[in-house]
């Protein structure tokens, strides 16, 4: 089951060749999916580790749900854009390419889980004054943002290089890559908004999801609250 994730990590050229020549079967996808789930469960547990064991359990379930759910929601769009841009990729190939990129992100998350856990255990107090807790929350948030950004960057670079290897010569790889990443980010932001909390603010109770998760969407929040706040200088 680990053979394919290891191949993706150590010899991506061979993996892309297998995608290009349609050697992979749907059953092979299970290995990649299982690895993505495991890496997200492990990192998810660390992500919420500072708040409470209950949130650890919740996020260990929610993080794989976020990644795989977002991928499922954009899978059809990915295949359509790939077809429209003349990539020559089948639906199965588009799924394998995306899952390979997520596998790379999963490897990075797994390898940095000990580092995140160390920062959590040594740098983040769970009790203290309002200011102490706010600083702690911000510190752990920055740590996770850096790690998740590294994982995202690694995954996206693998995706771009992979697309270059598997699509037909005249396909505009840059446009295809941009459309996939934009779709994933657009849906992923809303999914993470619905599934929040992940890190867990010390000023809100621990919850599976927030009671107001469906009251408005991520973009309404950004345009109605974040942007006006930034534009008016927090007046």
């Amino acid at each position: 089951m680990l053979a394919l994730p290891v191949l993706v990590l150590k010899d991506r050229a061979a993996f892309w060749e297998r995608v290009r020549t349609q050697e992979l079967h749907w059953s092979d996808l299970l290995g990649l999916a299982a690895f993505i789930v495991i890496s997200c469960v492990v990192y998810g547990a660390v992500l919420a580790g500072w708040r409470s064991p209950q949130l650890v359990l919740y996020v260990a379930v929610k993080l794989p749900l976020l990644f795989l759910g977002t991928t499922t929601l954009v899978a059809g769009f990915n295949w359509m854009t790939a077809s429209l841009l003349g990539s020559g990729l089948s639906f199965k190939s588009t799924v394998f390419v995306v899952f390979a990129a997520m596998t790379i992100s999963g490897w990075i998350l797994l390898s940095l889980a000990p580092v995140a856990l160390f920062f959590l255990l040594s740098g983040v107090p769970v009790v203290g004054s309002h200011d102490v807790l706010r600083t702690a929350h911000n510190s752990i948030l920055v740590t996770h943002i850096i790690i998740l950004s590294l994982a995202g960057f690694g995954g996206n670079m693998a995706l771009l290089k992979g697309l270059r290897r598997v699509v037909r010569p005249r396909c505009p790889v840059g446009s295809l890559f941009a459309s996939w990443v934009l779709a994933f980010a657009f849906v992923g932001c809303q999914m993470s908004w619905i599934l929040r909390p992940f890190v867990g603010s010390p000023f809100y109770p621990v919850a599976w999801i927030r009671p107001d998760c469906l009251d408005r969407n991520f973009y309404e929040f950004v345009f109605r609250e974040v942007l006006p706040y930034l534009l008016t200088g927090a007046k």
Partner: protein
Amino acid sequence: MNEDSMNKSLVNSMPPPLNDDHMPKPENIVTALLKSPEAVVEVIANGKNALRNGLTLLAAAVVFHAIFGLAMGLFGGWPVALMDAVKGPLTALCALTLCYPALYVFACVGGAPLTFARAFVLGASCLAMQGLILVGLAPVAWLFSVSTESLSFVTMLVVCIWGVALSFAVRFIAKLQEHALFSKAAGIKTWLFILALVTLQMATCLRPMLTSPKDGWWTGGKLFFLSHFSSTFDEPRR
């Protein structure tokens, strides 16, 4: 999975390896790190005697960090110096151990597929390279440590010296790129940045480094390294 067969295409494009007679032996590997780092790169790529080479480099790193710890710790007197002779290597070793999985994965993601043995020697050689520079600058650290009472100044000095040592480790990684197997070293460079952050947090975790703790060897309590280093500048003179 056979890693050697997976790297076959890369290995085929490599320049001919150094003759075994010209490869530094494990007992000479620290000297080679100083005088001809490219020979150490060859040792890492070759993979022979990986355990012995790695352990020798780690032992050297421990000794070098202990000497530097002793020199900087003299700021707080002999008890602190002795404490730092232990805490210095402990900080470096614990940070490296935590970051080993990341080294393996980042190198592979960056396009330089390492084996576990190569990753072990590479991590150890980076630490030993830092240690070499630290030990070279230990007299400077000692001179300033015993001639000032400003904690913030000595903290800044130690961080600067450590930064210089780190820059030499970066330079060593750049040397790696001359070898075909490590021509894509972006992942390893990113790893070094992570190692630096973890080392800073580890030093915070093992605080105090430059003053006597109130009780035992540890202060205890959770603190983020940015808060710790910024608070150093608020403290009164010793």
